[in-house]
């Protein structure tokens, strides 16, 4: 055991947040440049509008860069440079515009995001060694049964074993401390194409392996410990994440499904 190897990654939640922030701001600048110009005191016509769109493209590129790389140090520094550019443009706007208050509001906002940008860029710059792609995830359940029982049941769960094999996951059976049964763990490298962007798409399309395996392990545990998949009136198929969002009311079914 020793050092924990699971859930390790270079990019922390602040870097992720800044990536999504870039995508959000960039989209607004690209889609609604006039509104964004007016918010910071610019006219929103002619050159200023084009410039706002160009800055939007810059933000989008940076967002994609941050979200898709395992250790986006350079992309984070590019955000710091972008903040400098934004501050200069806003300062120029402040000199020319009648809406000084709005320009000041814009400057205050850029300063507010420059602080975490610099902080996170420095943080990532201190990281050493090769960046690690993806992250190792281990989904696990504790099953209060003997090792033989659990292994026998696992041998019988061919669909689940096949899924695990396809994902290139490792399966382990460990005695739980304190005679609490067996820890069944399935560990795999979670490295979706396009990094965090891909991971978000997988979650939105309910195609996320970690969640699926967690579901499967819960159901497997239910069968081994209780002999059945537990079903309620609102979840006649038992535990399935896909059913969590849109459930039928907790009311008996018209037809018995067995």
């Amino acid at each position: 055991m020793g050092t924990v190897s699971i859930r390790r990654r270079d990019k922390d939640s602040l870097a992720q947040f800044l990536g999504w922030f870039s995508l959000g701001l960039g989209s607004a600048q690209l889609v609604a440049p006039r509104l964004m110009c007016r918010l910071v005191g610019a006219s929103g016509e002619g050159f200023s509008r084009t410039l706002m769109r160009a800055m939007g493209v810059r933000e989008l590129t940076q967002g994609v860069g941050i979200l898709t790389r395992p250790r986006p140090t350079a992309w984070l520094w590019s955000r710091v440079a972008g903040d400098g550019l934004d501050l200069s443009l806003l300062a120029l706007t402040a000199l020319k515009t009648q809406h000084r208050g709005r320009a000041a509001f814009g400057i205050a906002n850029v300063v507010a995001v420059t602080v975490p940008d610099v902080f996170e860029s420095l943080h990532l710059s201190r990281k050493q060694g090769e960046p690690q792609p993806g992250m190792r995830i281990r989904k696990a359940v504790t099953i209060r049964r003997s090792r033989e029982d659990v292994e026998r049941a696992w041998a019988g769960a061919s669909d689940l074993r096949e899924k695990v094999l396809e994902a290139g996951a490792e399966v382990s059976f460990t005695d739980a401390p304190g005679e609490r049964g067996i820890e069944l763990a399935v560990e795999f490298l979670h490295d979706p194409p396009a990094g965090d962007l891909g991971a978000a798409v997988q979650k939105l399309t309910r195609n996320d392996l970690a969640t699926e395996l967690a579901d499967d392990l819960r159901r497997f545990k239910q069968i081994v410990e209780t002999g059945e998949i537990v079903r309620s009136d609102s979840t006649p198929q038992g535990h399935l994440l896909a059913n969590h969002i849109k459930q039928r009311p907790a009311q008996p079914l018209k037809e018995a499904i067995r």
Binding site: E225, T226, G227, E228, S234, T235, H244, A250, P252, I257
Partner: protein, 390 residues
Amino acid sequence: MRATCWMGRNTVEVEEVPDPKILNDRDAIVRITSTAICGSDLHLVDGYVPTMKRGDVLGHEFMGEVVELGNGVDNLSVGDRVVVPFPIACGACNACQAELYSLCENSNPNSRLAEKMFGHPTAGIFGYSHLTGGFAGGQSEYVRVPFADVGPIKIENGIPDESVLFLSDIFPTGYMGAEMCDIGGGEVIAIWGAGPVGQFAAASAKLLGAERVILIDRFDYRLRIARENTGVETLNYEEIDSVPEALKELTGGRGPDACIDAVGMEAHFHGPLYAYDRVKQATRMETERPYALREAIMSCRNGGIVSVVGVYGGFVDKFPMGAVMNRALTIRSGQCHVQRYMRPLLERIQEGDIDPSFIITHRLPLDEAPHGYDVFKNKEDECLKVVLKP
């Protein structure tokens, strides 16, 4: 069949719904003979528990007669009279084996939702939102009971429904609240809330040997019922200046040895802090109004125990953690592990130590459930407990 359904915030209706069917081998179908409205049902109706759906059948306090059994239930027979505990528990997982039935690891098919909300999932509960599994409840003519070989307790002699019905939830809940106070004899116990759970917590504290029990509420009729039936001391907080000061003065300056919060997330209080919580709760910036809990913590003696059986669902503000840490308080809590208490408490009832029916103030036919919810919620007509008869 007829069933009491949640139809939206503050709307309860009795609807025609399909009869329940056996879905799993360890299921039973029970024909309800008595069912009750619980204080925690009011949190659902008031809209403070997330994941309710229009049409959800309510009710988690019920008893009745077994009319159908799955192949996997061999300790019950058709015709048995049973009381059903509100947490659904498999009996086989580590939580159940440790008698932590309300934390059963298998009985909640929506455990992922509960995990997101609470960090780890909790057991399935009848008629108590989709967070706890989306099981149809028992304020109806029939109910499906999963893991019927584990939960239901047989009532074998002619004890009337009303004396044993509350084994399903509130009597064990109140008892667990008192048991968590480590009563060994000679203690002073203060209890916030003279609703059904507070009443049973008070009675249980007495049964367990507490020397003095002080019950706090704002409704004189509820305090009177407690004085008459349990012989406890009472405090009406609306009539006094400060509950913590009064408790200090009543206990030689020490404070109660243990404090039980039997109020939960919708506490009332007169003062500026109440307005603060009310506004934050209404705007969903805080999910609870934890006034009773704060007061219980501040009142408890140094090194004492704060036992929380009132229901909370999310996050509280202004939680006096400094008092908890610096004064070495212990907080104990939990949805009741009812299965653990049903048999010993049934024995207490049979031996005549207590007759839980003393809290019943209203008996109504099932079809009048919406009226029952109204009088219970608004404390009309000196309402303390409503029992429905299908």
